[in-house]
Amino acid sequence: MTDCNMVEAIRLALLEEMDRDATVVLLGEDVGRKGGVFKASEGLLDRFGAGRVVDTPISEIAIAGVAIGAAMMGLRPVAEFQFADYLHPAYDQLVSQAATMRWRSVGTWGVPVVFRAPFGAVNGGGVYHSQSPEAPYCHTPGLKVVAPSTPRDAHGLLKAAIRDDDPVVFFEHKRNYRTLREDVGGNDDVLRLGTARVDRNGDDVAVITYAGGVHLAREAADAVSSRDGIGVEILDLRTLAPLDHEAIARTVTKTGRALVLHEANRTMGVGAEVAAFVAEELFAELDAPVVRVGAADVHLTYNAVEQAAALPSVDGVAGAIRRLAHY
């Protein structure tokens, strides 16, 4: 049993998997000498050497593409993108190359790469260190997308992602890196991709969310349960592609009222998919319209005022839960 915050949990997962399997390698900007700008790979260069921990030039196409080619030849690379915002220059390699490789070669070539991407808003990050760009990867057949909310999930899911034979885009919310500690289990605590987790049980309203949204949901759930006696069920999706439709159906069937929450801007976010699924497949179960809460459809700012105004807030989520409960 190891007590970790989320970034430590990620580092531990990397370390354990690199220890276990000599084909696991790490590459990215500043992952070596500096141990990553968030310290997710601290000490790994010393432990595994420059052959397996590669400080790359600032070239995201190469980071992704080199990882893909290396994976095809037998390695299991973990490619770190310093900020999820910098996945964009490599977008083509992810959606047109990694995602299509196995499919287009009728199973000949697999791409067991994990694309790690710290995402989400932190104070003062501005538009290039705050983005939540997970949606398009969820629209891309052939990719898996993971976004854990807790140290334990981060550890177990990253290990699963590394062992997975397909490309996985792994989003880590920067704000959650150091906020919470918990026992993350040991070397064999590998979780299964594609499974949501009921983070909290409740009967009245379901909040379906992931990553940073889980923590927001917890605060909002506390507020409405103590003040209004509303029982909130929180479903942490954990994997965004493929979605765990059964778990979503269970929570919606149980509560009849569903709110989908994420930090990405609202229009065309993952919430749209979840809401559309619920509206189409669980129409008869719904006692109220499925509600989406996400960031405003704007960019995020360096200044705190505009950033706070753009992001979903505890009050905003609590208000939406109340309106749903009383619909």
């Binding site: 052959g51 095809m72 030849m73 037998g74 083509d92 070669s105």
Partner: protein
């Protein structure tokens, strides 16, 4: 090149040309959908491909590399299965366009239609060859057009920094579809090499001896741990870019001149002159190849189409 090798080049070039011609015929008949071939590039493709050890070195082709594939051991029948979109095509099961090869046994990475998308893969393979110590060299072919892509720069720079075992072969035919070299770059492709700390050479791609020598040197350097090489071979693009291209940007005279200067015809002339082959040998090779290739195509025409039930197959492991 010694006489045996030259005869092998001739055999492969004759084969490549025969498959090429058959593909265009299938396209004109409306049977093959989208055909791209390397007519004029063959000798350079074959001479570079002959320098690698199939199954040890990894090969990263682009869509025009029919000659590379046939040299490495892809069969004409497979080519036709692919061109006709057949289920049994081992390279893409008919999912990808003509000449989009992929083979684990031959270590050919999956070709994508996307220009330059594969250069970082070749570099990643070279990195894996080193980490795994499997002795492989990654060889990567691409066109002059691909040289302008950001992916190409990032790949070459990464290879240069880590002195990886990779050979970059640029088949410079002077055109990116219709865009002439003068609108693509202000210096030869090989002039880029210095900026990546690797040797860069420009070689006449119709001269098999020089291409073979340059490619062999580059492979030797890579195997000796001396890092990457950029080899630019000048070749003619004898045909339209693809079966969808009306070639409105070239005159009939330009095209006629290209056909007149066909490097395969020139090679045959030379081999006969030098006594490596007799004219009868050449004629016999052409005739027997045409026949076998026709057979290969016919068998492919009869092969089954994919079925809709495999729609989701191979999307995930």
């Amino acid at each position: 090149m010694d006489a045996d090798r030259l005869r092998e080049v001739h055999r492969l070039a004759t084969l490549t040309r025969a498959v090429d011609e058959r593909l265009w015929a299938l396209s004109r008949q409306g049977r093959a959908g989208f055909v791209l071939t390397g007519r004029g590039h063959e000798l350079a493709q074959i001479a570079t491909a002959m320098s690698l050890r199939v199954g040890v070195d990894s090969a990263w082709l682009y869509y025009r590399d029919l000659g590379v594939a046939l040299t490495m051991g892809v069969t004409p029948h497979e080519v036709f299965l692919g061109a006709l979109g057949k289920a049994d095509d081992p390279h893409s099961g008919g999912r990808q366009l003509t000449a989009h090869f992929s083979s684990r046994a031959l270590r050919i990475g999956s070709v994508s239609s996307e220009v330059a998308g594969h250069l970082p893969h070749a570099v990643g393979a070279a990195y894996a060859h080193r980490v795994l110590g499997d002795g492989g060299v990654a060889v990567c072919w691409f066109g002059d057009g691909a040289a302008s892509e950001g992916a190409t720069h990032e790949a070459m720079n990464f290879a240069g920094v880590h002195r990886l075992p990779v050979v970059f072969v640029c088949e410079n035919n002077g055109l990116a579809i219709s865009v002439p070299l003068s609108l693509q770059m202000a210096a030869p492709v090989a002039a880029r090499a210095a900026g990546y700390g690797m040797p860069g050479l420009t070689v006449d791609g119709t001269d098999v001896d020089r291409v073979w020598a340059a490619a062999s040197d580059a492979m030797d350097r890579a195997r000796a741990g001396e890092g990457p090489t950029l080899l630019e071979v000048g070749v003619p693009r004898m045909l339209a870019h693809s079966s969808q291209d009306d070639e409105s940007y070239r005159t009939d005279e330009e095209r006629a001149a290209l056909v007149a200067a066909d490097p395969l015809v020139a090679l045959r002339r030379r081999l006969v002159d030098e006594g490596v082959l007799s004219q009868d040998d050449v004629d016999a090779e052409i005739a027997s190849t045409a026949e076998s290739v026709r057979d290969d195509a016919h068998r492919a025409l009869d092969a089954p189409d994919p079925t809709p039930d495999r729609l989701h197959r191979w999307l995930y492991a």
